[in-house]
Amino acid sequence: MRAEVRTLQEAMAREGYIADEAIATALLLTGELGKPLLIEGDAGVGKTEIAKVLARLRETELIRLQCYEGLDVSTALYEWNYPRQMLRVRMSEQEAIDADRMEQAVFGRSYLLERPLLRAITRREGPAVLLIDEIDRADEAFEAFLLEVLSDFQVTIPELGTIRAEHVPYVVLTSNCTREIGDALRRRCLYLHLDHPSLEKEVRIVRSRVPGASEALALQIGRFLQALRARRLARAPGVAESIDWARALVRLHQDHLDGEVVRATLGCVVKDRHDLRDLNTTELGRLVAEARGEVAAP
């Protein structure tokens, strides 16, 4: 499998995602075993991006379901198109159609609004990538329902009957761990835990995503972010933040970090007011000096 893992890593790198072996292995196994992949990790470590890259690699559609508390079947799976149904019923008032036939007509596929889950299952052109984002935000009732869909890849609509998947989609679930995911759902998936990247990986990511950033700038950003994460902030910045910051600095024509610009752009990275307050000027100066390699990190 090693060779395939390498190939996949390279392919992902071409799409701008620097993946280590664990990520590539997990993605390969998801395809081979036909099981959903559950990715857990802090916000901003690149969980959602994995699904996007997967869709680009497989040259297929990415269907995304964003979870929130109270998410229900009519937003996740399907809904009937009431205005159209109503119109149809009204238009045929003059014709003497009996109730049974009318019901059949009105509850047909063409009156069905497909929501993400149903669309992922019924896609004809080949398997889609289904991203179920932030599953920890949905409640347990939805989790139980999802379990049913993900085990059989079929859904039952009372008016229509059972719809089976044309192609089993690649499913990626992400969670920020704000809530423990139920054991049943966890067991149904393969598992990947994403951590903040190492310095070397972070520099590669910044370089690949922000081509305008010089080697030196990327390295300094990497060091700065690593030092920030080691400080136990209330909200640790992820790779998403380092990319944003690199973009901002490139836009400001910076090729290295300096105290003033860092203070002005710190909002790209530190997004909590208590954290901002804790980082006073001397602290920042020290972090910048360390990042520039002028002072050895403690």
Partner: protein, 371 residues
Amino acid sequence: MSADLVCHLARFAGSLRAAGVRVTVGDEVDALRAVTLADLGDPEDVRLALRCTLKIRPRDAEAFEDLFARHWLQAGRADPLRPPRAEHGPGNPRSSGLVPASPRPVEVEVELPRGDEPGWSRDAILRKKPFEECDDRELARLEQLLARLAERLATRRSRRFVPVRGRGRPDLRRSLRRAVATSGELLSLAHRQRPIETSRLVLVCDTSGSMDPHARFLLAFARALKRVARRTEVFTFNTELVRITSWLSGGQQRSAMEQLAAAVPDWSGGTRIGECLEAFAVRHLEELVDSRTVVLVLSDGLDRGEPERLAAAMQRIQARARRILWLNPLLGDPRYQPTARGMAAALPFVDALLPVHNLESLERLLPRLAP
């Protein structure tokens, strides 16, 4: 696939289970399929495949890496290549004792000196009087007030809609289905509404000597809550955890207290908070606590056990519960600082630390019990 491989994997899964990592047969099947795809000559390949399919979480990473090194690197091959590194996941949080403080800031509510409220009634004074200073007659009156208070227990509207008769929002889906029978004439609208959810509460009360003056009253509070939120579960602990839910429903307060004194070992003895909460986490957590449950721990945090065990147990409970509130009678004293070892260990995993020393503090607690 060879029978050898199957046996080896089963043994590996067995030792993982023995180390406390939850591995099901389904996981083993996944792992087996993945391992047959992997290159058995390449330990790194096997390791990554196993980690992914056995669903190894960061907290189990250390145990996994240990056992992997023993089972797959030394057993099978002569050359244990490089030792596996933990590329993913931080070090096992359990090993470091007190894990980093949870990002959620803990609220500590302390009684603020305020002017007396206008008007006077005997009840108004009683509301502010510390429990331990009340005489028997006052206590009986307090219990009555408490019962009325609990009826105001906070509830919230569910975010989900359910069909209802009569008032509510129009439910188009059902209305239209009905209309089909009358050839499209909407004779009546179906409605749906958000139901009211009541709290699920789990109370874990300390009954050790240092809590003695408060115990009677807190149990009365538990009874009052139980009447309103039926699914309330009550436990007591000092050196051992006892489930007393069934004694609280019906009957007299006194008989509950007597039963308690008879059944709870060492009533008013020393406390082992960590061990008792751990026992709660092992035996009852999955059954009684879910993401809608508010867990209340009533204790002064004066623990004679190991703070690490308390912290680990609190972390497990916090991961599952909607909210975990620590009610501490000592907080009524403005000079009190939560520095007792047990209290300090538990604090990072508590959503709010609140005083319970008089009726007024219980009153202020009610909104926080919303599901």
